[in-house]
């Protein structure tokens, strides 16, 4: 029952990113990956960053997670400056990162266990989130026995079971076939609707960005900068049919233009 309390009153924080700079290397070989990124994500918002590959959008997410060190600027999550990784910022990675030596249930249980939550409560949490992602039947399977889509569903359940303040998602469906990707998007929207976590989601798929987001941030190529902010404003709950709506197509065209200009700039 405690698990249900956690999900009915989920934690959700804002993310403040102020003039963040990321530079790799030193001297003449230095590469400016991110150049003065600033934006603010409000609690419960679903914010998607879309940009060409290599624009530093994933790096930005790693900076928010505290997994990489920024060269300059400030990142604040829920009022706390980010200095290192922590369980308040859950993350779903593009690569499959389930612990192969743990079963599906043990993977989901991992975060709560680290937190020192009692076994009975942990079981309730695991049950709840495996049910959320529709994998209750696979609780005792090992990750190697799951398909790519199932692995990412477990990864989402594992991140949420830890009740983070914000959920960071780095192209989580990038490696999946388009059909699986669509069902994952639907599933994510449904889960987000239940949990209302603040989500910062990175993708290069424009359809995915518009379909999921409250707000899309379009990034330019190296050095990465926020080029434009688009409020999606499509009604929720959303269905896949939206991709054929005129205002969806208009937004898609706008983002495509922005990314195309960027390509032209490089040439």
């Amino acid at each position: 029952m405690d698990a249900l309390n956690l999900t009915t009153k989920p934690k959700s924080s804002d993310i403040g990113i102020d003039n963040v700079v990321l530079r790799y290397g030193k001297g003449d070989n230095a590469v400016l990956a991110l150049d003065g990124i600033s934006f603010h994500v409000v609690p419960n918002e679903f914010c998607v960053i879309v940009g060409p590959s290599g624009c530093g959008k994933s790096s930005l997410l790693y900076l928010v997670a505290g997994l990489e060190e920024r060269t300059g600027g400030m990142i604040v999550v829920g009022g706390k400056p980010v200095t290192e990784p922590g369980p308040d910022r859950g993350m779903v990675f593009q690569a499959y990162t389930l612990f192969p030596w743990l079963t599906v249930a043990q993977n989901v249980e991992y975060g709560p266990k680290r937190k020192g939550i009692a076994p009975a409560e942990r079981r309730a949490i695991v049950e709840h989130f495996l049910h959320e992602v529709g994998l209750a039947k696979f609780a005792n399977h090992y990750p190697s026995q799951l398909s790519g889509g199932m692995k990412q569903r477990v990864a989402i359940a594992r991140a949420l079971a830890n009740d983070p303040d914000v959920l960071l998602m780095d192209e989580p469906f990038g490696a999946l076939d388009s059909q699986t990707r669509h069902s994952m998007q639907k599933l994510l929207l449904r889960i987000w609707d239940h949990s209302k976590k603040t989500v910062l989601f990175v993708t290069h798929d424009i359809d995915e960005a518009i379909l999921l987001a409250d707000r899309v941030l379009v990034m330019s190529g190296r050095p990465g900068q926020i080029k434009k902010e688009i409020r999606v404003g499509l009604p929720r709950p959303r269905s896949m049919d939206l991709v054929m709506e005129p205002n969806f197509i208009a937004m898609k065209r706008e983002i495509l233009e922005l990314l195309k200009n960027d390509e032209d700039d490089e040439h």
Binding site: A65, L67, P85, P87, M91, A95, W101, G111, R114, A159
Partner: protein, 288 residues
């Protein structure tokens, strides 16, 4: 309009042709000549068995034809009878026990240090920076060249043989285990951090379980090397053990005893190999 049935019949012909080709492709010759293709289990067992028959048959042929003097190559049945008589009078078990004891002590002493140290070395660059230059130097020194030094330092007791095994196995284990720790997927560690794993717990909570199957493989392989170094140590200085009786047998021209000792080491090696495979299946069922 007449094109449509033609096309469809062409397509169906194509399909039939492919199906037939598929069945023809199952011919044994084609299967065994296909890289990485699995062969029938019955075939692989039969072939493995036949190689043994051929080797033992060749042995019989060489000894019974008189092509090789019995002083150099004993007849198979005399090796067998020697084995049985030494097993019955208990002397075989005494030597087997002496050898197994030395191998186990040396191997366990080496492993209980090499596993945690190797994992730490592969995880923390600073530990690697400190240890690697020295370890890579020592690793290429021939163990045999240290035997006289060990005899001088620690005498000819069991400690000397244990030392030879530890010296031969430890540095190899260390490097191989550090390698497998280093190859742990970085995002696996990142995921662990975002789930609340402390930096100091990474080796125990992530690196150790992630590398467990490859650590067990390293132990299995180095166990084989431990047997090699055991014989080296026993040939030089020992009063019991399978290497020792080989040396004694050489002096007495008892080739059958040498053969028996070699076969015994082979069988013991096979047993430990299977033991490690069993342990791996048991403690890392997810990696099979």
């Amino acid at each position: 309009m007449t094109l449509a049935p033609n096309t469809s019949s062409l397509v169906s012909n194509g399909v039939t042709a492919r199906v037939e080709e598929g069945q023809a492709g199952r011919s044994v010759l084609k299967v065994i000549a296909t890289p990485f293709r699995a062969v029938p289990r019955s075939l692989s067992i039969t072939l493995g068995f036949m190689v043994w028959i051929a080797v033992i048959g060749g042995w019989f042929a060489l000894t019974y034809s008189g092509a090789v003097k019995e002083m150099f190559l004993p007849r198979p049945e005399s090796v067998l009878s020697t084995t049985i008589s030494m097993a019955l009078d208990g002397s075989l078990w005494e030597h087997v026990f002496a050898s197994v004891q030395v191998v186990l002590i040396g191997f366990v002493l080496s492993s209980i240090v090499a596993v945690p140290l190797g994992l730490t070395m592969g995880t923390y660059r600073i530990v690697q920076a400190v240890l690697e230059p020295l370890v890579n130097f020592i690793r290429y020194l021939p163990v045999t060249s240290f035997v006289p030094l060990f005899i001088l330092w620690i005498g000819i007791g069991i400690e000397q043989r244990v030392a030879v095994i530890v010296f031969g196995v430890f540095f190899q284990q260390l490097v191989m285990i550090a390698d497998s720790a280093r190859s742990v997927q970085r995002d696996l560690v990142n995921a662990a951090y975002t789930l609340g794993t402390k930096r100091g717990d990474t080796v125990f909570h992530i690196v150790f379980p992630a590398t467990l199957p490859s650590v067990l493989d390293v132990l299995r392989v180095t166990m084989g090397w431990a047997w090699t170094y055991l014989v080296v140590a026993e040939l030089v200085a020992a009063r019991s053990g399978l290497g020792y009786i080989s040396l004694k047998a050489m002096r007495g021209f008892q080739v059958d005893v040498i053969f028996m000792a070699i076969a015994m080491i082979g069988i013991l090696g096979l047993c430990t190999d299977q033991l490690f495979r069993g342990i791996r299946r048991l403690v890392a069922p997810w990696a099979n």
